[in-house]
Symmetry: C2
């Protein structure tokens, strides 16, 4: 690593950087400004990667979010090692950001570990805030009445989309690969939960979020997310103790239902008071901050009742999207989402370990064969869901199926919990990771194809018109 | 602490929260979701405090930012202990956020310290990002040509505003309080640097940022900030080694000048290419993200050459404010600033330890008497600067002097460095902190009075007209 700023090697300039924070202790006085410098540098890398990746994909007619994921892979653990996380076993020595800080900002090796830990923590939380903002925005853009209308269809899509890949995956692993019952059930379970982030972002990019297809996908993905959490709780308890406590599962299902229905019912009752308070406020950012307070509280409640923060954010978006302030709020949320959401997608890409995909490494081969099977089941198991959609209106069934494909990080949580409990072999664990990578990266182009194809016939145009009409209203 | 959610005490629900992040290790799998929950809760507290405080102040005709500072005091270390920081000696046991997480989210005591450390780190970095965004926004709203035009006047204001309080303070402490030379110089030095954040925010709230007075204050505060860093380097080296290395001071002054002039000259040359790239981009948020990349890079460079990140952010704002995209950019930066800036002001308030102001505690009394002297010098030493403004045009001299009063966090850095080096006695250290608190809280109402008074005569109206004309252009 060359010294970019030889001037900085003078003694005076290796002392603590006198940043604005009031540091009264010597050690934190050295660490805190370097953590900030590390975060600034990480954000530069993240934004550059997201825009370069996004722009390239936009030019070759692929969804920009796919470019962000690939950009994340390039700057992440599989290539440049700029954005790496301690959770995946990286240390300060693996982080190029830390090396850059050492050569440009005079970071001393003895506090490198502390700075790495803290700056990764900050980037992780910013990424989480990114997906929270994304789901808040998706909630705002969704139409509660339309969601309720498509509710039964979305529920069927969600349930079929959980049961089919689970059954196909578990039975296939038992029958074809002669696997034991618990690991087979675990891998089957990892095939169940759709990752709503990727799909929602692609739908938004294609301006298909407020179409009937879009709303069925979002509704199903939300229900699917809840089902995934329930499945995870069941499987994790099975792997740990060998039995399933039905009472706990019942509590989880009950609290999920109570949370979603409760927040929406209570939220609609309280919305007029919310607007009343906002109208009385005189300081800058009154609507945005008031709305964020609602979103953050519901995210917090979602997180602590062992659902997910993003479900709370989505519910908050849905409620506030029903108010007359919807368009003002959307306008103000867009720049914040633009700033935070790329941190999430780049992080997802950055955590992707492409090493497990290398067929030249003999230890990967068994995993890759199982992976091929899991990918097939993952795609088939979700594509069939589109064909369960009933009702008089014609919908783009293929788009719905494709929209449910990405497993994203939820699948990785399964792999992580499974590996930690010892239920999964290395090859099965790698196979699940490959399945998550493949479904995450394949879904955006498939979705685009499904909606573009659809543009040819009458259906697609009517969907487009609905979207435009909704945008204008 | 009551259990708000008794349901959560069931065994299943005390396991790790399956949030979206891919956690493959058991321990980080437990910590990360709780850190996120802690940050969500902290943000709720911060936004509530900032809006309640801001709205109350707006109603009693005080600047809202004063309300945010007071709101910060209420939720901070002096009162509710919701927002506390390890740098000021707080532990997990002192944090009400951690107590809330223990009672609502099942945080176990053995990881409470880790969660507290990480969530404080995140809130601290978000606060720093807040002041970076604030200075970026101030840079965007500033007018480079006007700043250059008022440059000589701003330079005189800055230099007089550093020399006067330093000389009065040091000599007074030597003569009246019979203090030793080094502590007297240290306390004198702590009186020098204006905190730009508070003043810039008040100017923006009063719509006086683009007036001649506003631009002189901003220009002088920026120069003052650089002088303050130079003074800190000199005094810290004096306290540590008893001598001053002039070569190092020269390097610091040279790099500061080279950085500010260099970024602005090079930035103006590169601005057309920046606009060219942005025009070619097709993905969402192209202008905002491209601008943020510039701001983050300059902030990083500002931080690592031992100036401040905020100087880089201000320079980036100045350059981009010269382009034709200024108004689009301002519009998109506003919501982000609205979300991040309150985190900074609430943190400043939260770190304010009101205990040192209590005259009933005998150990505070000596400090309070010295403090009264320092506050007087701090105010007089800056108010005189307004009367040094020369030139044919009439300006509001009092407003300029008042605008330079707040010492904010820069003064606290002096107190921290001085206390760490052993140069300051406890009472002198407390006196500096009281001086910082007093100047920070007194400046916003004084500024408002100065500008309101001014509205009465012709001068003020012309200033107002300039501001409006600038807004419309």
């Amino acid at each position: 690593m060359p010294d970019f700023f030889p001037l900085l090697q003078t003694p005076l300039l290796q002392g603590p950087i006198p940043l604005l924070a009031a540091e009264t202790e010597a050690s934190s006085g050295e660490v805190a400004p370097l953590v900030l410098a590390g975060v600034l540098l990480s954000l530069v890398v993240i934004y550059l990667a997201s825009k370069v990746g996004g722009e390239i994909c936009a030019r070759i007619n692929l969804p920009p979010v796919l470019g962000e994921l690939v950009g994340g892979v390039v700057v992440g653990v599989s290539a440049l090692h700029l954005i790496v996380f301690p959770e995946s076993g990286a240390t300060a020595a693996d982080s190029m950001i830390i090396s850059l800080l050492q050569s440009t900002a005079g970071l001393s090796p003895d506090i490198a570990g502390e700075v790495f830990q803290a700056q990764s923590e900050v980037v992780s939380v910013l990424a989480e805030m990114g997906v929270i903002l994304l789901l808040f925005e998706i909630g705002l853009e969704s139409d509660l009445k339309e969601l309720i209308k498509v509710g039964p269809q979305a529920a069927v899509v969600a349930i079929v989309g959980v049961v089919t890949p689970f059954a196909l995956g578990t039975l296939g692993l038992l029958a074809i690969f002669q696997m034991a019952l618990v690991p087979a059930i675990f891998a089957g379970a990892a095939l169940t939960a759709t990752s709503i982030g990727i799909t929602a972002k692609v739908l938004s990019e294609l301006r298909q979020l407020s179409t009937r297809e879009g709303q069925i996908i979002i509704g199903a993905a939300i229900l699917d997310d809840i089902l995934g959490i329930v499945v995870l709780a069941v499987v994790a308890s099975l792997a740990k103790t060998g039995e399933v406590k039905l009472a706990n599962v019942a509590i989880l299902i009950f609290s999920a239902a109570a949370f979603l229905i409760g927040t929406i019912v209570i939220g609609r009752l309280l919305a007029p008071y919310f607007l009343g308070v906002v109208k009385e406020m005189k300081t800058r950012g009154e609507l945005l901050i008031a709305a964020l307070i609602v979103a953050l509280i519901l995210s917090y409640v979602g997180a602590i009742i062992h659902l997910e923060a993003i479900l709370g954010a989505f519910a908050a978006g849905l409620i506030l999207g029903e108010t007359e302030k919807r368009h003002d709020l959307e306008e103000q949320v867009v720049p914040i989402a633009d700033v935070l959401v790329p941190i999430f997608f780049i992080s997802v890409g950055a955590k992707t370990e492409l090493g497990v995909l290398n067929p030249m490494d003999p230890s990967n081969r068994e995993g890759l064969i199982i992976a091929a099977f899991l990918v097939l089941v993952a795609i088939v198991g979700k594509v069939v869901t589109g064909f369960t959609v009933f009702g008089p209106e014609k919908v783009n069934k293929l788009a719905i199926g494709f929209g449910m494909i990405p497993r994203g990080e939820v699948g990785l949580v399964f792999a992580g919990v499974g590996a930690a409990s010892g239920a999964l072999s290395d090859s099965l664990n790698a196979a699940i990771i490959v399945m998550v990578i493949a479904t995450t990266f394949i879904a955006p182009p498939l979705l685009r194809i499904a909606f573009n194809q659809d543009d040819g016939d009458g259906d697609g145009k009517s969907a487009e018109t609905v979207a435009l009409a909704a945008d204008e209203s």
